[in-house]
């Protein structure tokens, strides 16, 4: 008979009830976030879906939020962890405002703070299961960065999380250029989101596009993209691949 008391890993460093304290897998998740720098600031897009495994359960999840005066945060991954991060940032911004001294945390500072938080949690084997996109403008300087759940962080002219890295970034690499107009930026983002909508099964057709400039943030009302399903290849999908489903 097996007298093992519990399914504890042999590693004694983790201690007794360690497993119930660690994040092992995500439950309600958001899919890709895509963002790019344009002439006046940053544009960021994300759909409003919260998946529960393979079920598209929640359809009005706001995955982009403004942070302070100068930043926008978009998140994919575990939604409850995103809400926790928003609470951390809320406190951070509150204390920053309480100084009331003319200094304020800009997007670079928030991004680095988040990197520290994500990396520290990862080191404790209790990650916040998110990939974050942090964009903003301060004193005319545009900033766009990303942090993953293991603390990998970097800045770029365009970033994406999850499937966005595979489907959207190649498009952005081809078509992004410095000083995009607002209309061109939105068009480019919608192109990326449309591809994601066609090809990412956790994507839903309800998205928000957020803009941040020196003047402030605007997050659009939710809207849908026009899609076209009458491509002849879709009509008889098994044609070139017998046995496929």
């Amino acid at each position: 008979m097996n007298f093992m008391a519990s399914k504890q890993p042999e590693n004694s460093l983790l201690g007794p009830e360690a497993d119930s304290q660690r994040t092992l897998y995500p439950y309600v998740t958001g899919t890709s976030v895509v963002a790019l720098k344009y002439k006046d600031g940053i544009l960021m897009a994300a759909d409003m879906g919260g998946s529960y495994g393979s079920t598209l359960r929640y359809k009005s999840v706001e995955r982009i939020k403004p942070i302070g005066k100068h930043s926008l945060l978009g998140a994919s991954g575990e939604i409850s962890d995103f809400q926790e991060i928003l609470r951390y940032l809320d406190e951070l911004i509150l204390y920053d405002n309480m100084w009331d001294d003319g200094n304020s945390l800009g997007p670079k500072e928030v991004h680095n703070y988040l990197t520290r938080v994500m990396y520290n949690r990862r080191n404790k084997f209790n990650p916040l299961w998110n990939s974050l996109v942090l964009g903003g403008v301060k004193n005319g300087q545009k900033y766009l960065g990303t942090v993953s759940m293991i603390g990998v962080n970097f800045e770029d002219n365009h970033v994406a999380t999850g499937f966005g890295n595979h489907l959207a970034r190649p498009i952005l690499r081809q078509e992004w250029h410095e000083n995009l107009s607002y209309e061109d930026g939105v068009r480019l983002l919608e192109k990326c989101m449309r591809v994601l909508l066609y090809r990412d099964r956790s994507a839903i057709n309800k998205l928000q596009i957020a803009k941040i400039t020196e003047e402030g943030t605007t997050i659009s009302q939710p809207y849908s993209l026009k899609t076209y399903w009458e491509f002849s290849a879709f009509a008889n999908p098994a044609q070139g691949a017998v046995g496929t489903w």
């Binding site: 100084w99 200094n103 945390l105 800009g106 670079k108 703070y113 520290r116």
Partner: protein
């Protein structure tokens, strides 16, 4: 200040509402050798008079770099000053690590002031016996603050602390309106002139003083003795002429006429300005 029955510990108020221990701590600052600071819109200069225990010893370090954008000059118990400088350096490093951004000097001085205040409200502690002139850059430009042992802090365009600082303050009060738009070099010259005031007749030479500068595009650093001596010679030759006028000519003709400079210095009584 005379001894009285309310001055034994810092947590005892006098009937007049004074904390004598805190005031005695501020006396310690007044006994230390002079430190001065002045700022323009983009630069801050700190200067101090070097005091050595004896001819045989080296002088005490009174100016500390806290970060690339912050420096501090102290007067009073230099040991307390060292400890506080270490605290300030730590705070700057921690902030820089978390936010990858320099700690705004305005926030550092508040933290420093709150730290000093704690020592005025614990019976088992004593106030820090050091006054700090904190020079640093912020989002809003160049700042100079004075932190007191009492836990108060004030922002200044120019200030002097330590022994015979009143002479320097008088000089600064006359000149401060020019500081905001002064060039970096003019600011250093004014700092040297202010230090000269505190020397009361002693020759101003680079071995007697230390100067440090921080500004937009210029990380905090202490000027080396050679440069300081050059600047002293440059304006001493001209004598009592106003700093800003002399500046343009002097920098170009900075031939270190050490001998002539020293001779002229001993002849002229610097107080007669």
């Amino acid at each position: 200040m005379f001894r009285n029955q309310y001055d034994t510990d810092v947590t005892t108020w006098s009937p007049a509402g004074r904390l004598f221990q805190v005031e005695y701590a501020m006396e310690a600052v007044k006994q230390g050798s002079a430190a001065i600071g002045l700022r323009s819109k983009t630069h801050i200069v700190l200067g101090c008079v070097n005091k050595a225990n004896s001819e045989l010893s080296s002088h005490q370090k009174k100016i500390f770099k806290v970060d690339d954008h912050i420096g501090v000059a102290i007067a009073g118990l230099t040991a307390d000053g060292r400890v506080l400088s270490r605290y300030m350096r730590n705070e700057c490093i921690n902030y820089g690590f978390t936010y990858e951004s320099p700690l705004p000097v305005g926030r550092l001085v508040v933290q420093l002031a709150d730290k000093a205040q704690v020592c005025t409200q614990r019976s088992w502690k004593r106030p820090y016996g050091v006054g700090l002139l904190v020079a640093g850059l912020d989002e809003s430009g160049a700042h100079l603050y004075y932190n007191c042992p009492s836990g108060n802090y004030f922002e200044y365009q120019a200030f002097a602390i330590g022994s015979r600082s009143q002479a320097a303050k008088t000089y600064l009060e006359r000149k401060f309106e020019n500081f905001t738009d002064a060039s970096r070099d003019d600011l250093v010259k004014d700092a040297l002139m202010a230090i000269r005031e505190t020397l009361q007749g002693e020759t101003l030479k680079s071995s007697v003083c230390t100067i440090a500068v921080v500004g937009v595009g210029e990380p905090f650093h202490i000027l080396d003795q050679g440069t300081v001596q050059q600047m002293i010679d440059a304006f001493e030759i001209v004598g009592e002429q106003e700093g800003p006028d002399a500046a343009a000519g002097q920098e170009a003709s900075a031939e270190p006429e050490q001998g002539a400079g020293a001779g002229a210095g001993e002849g002229v009584a610097p107080m007669d300005i």
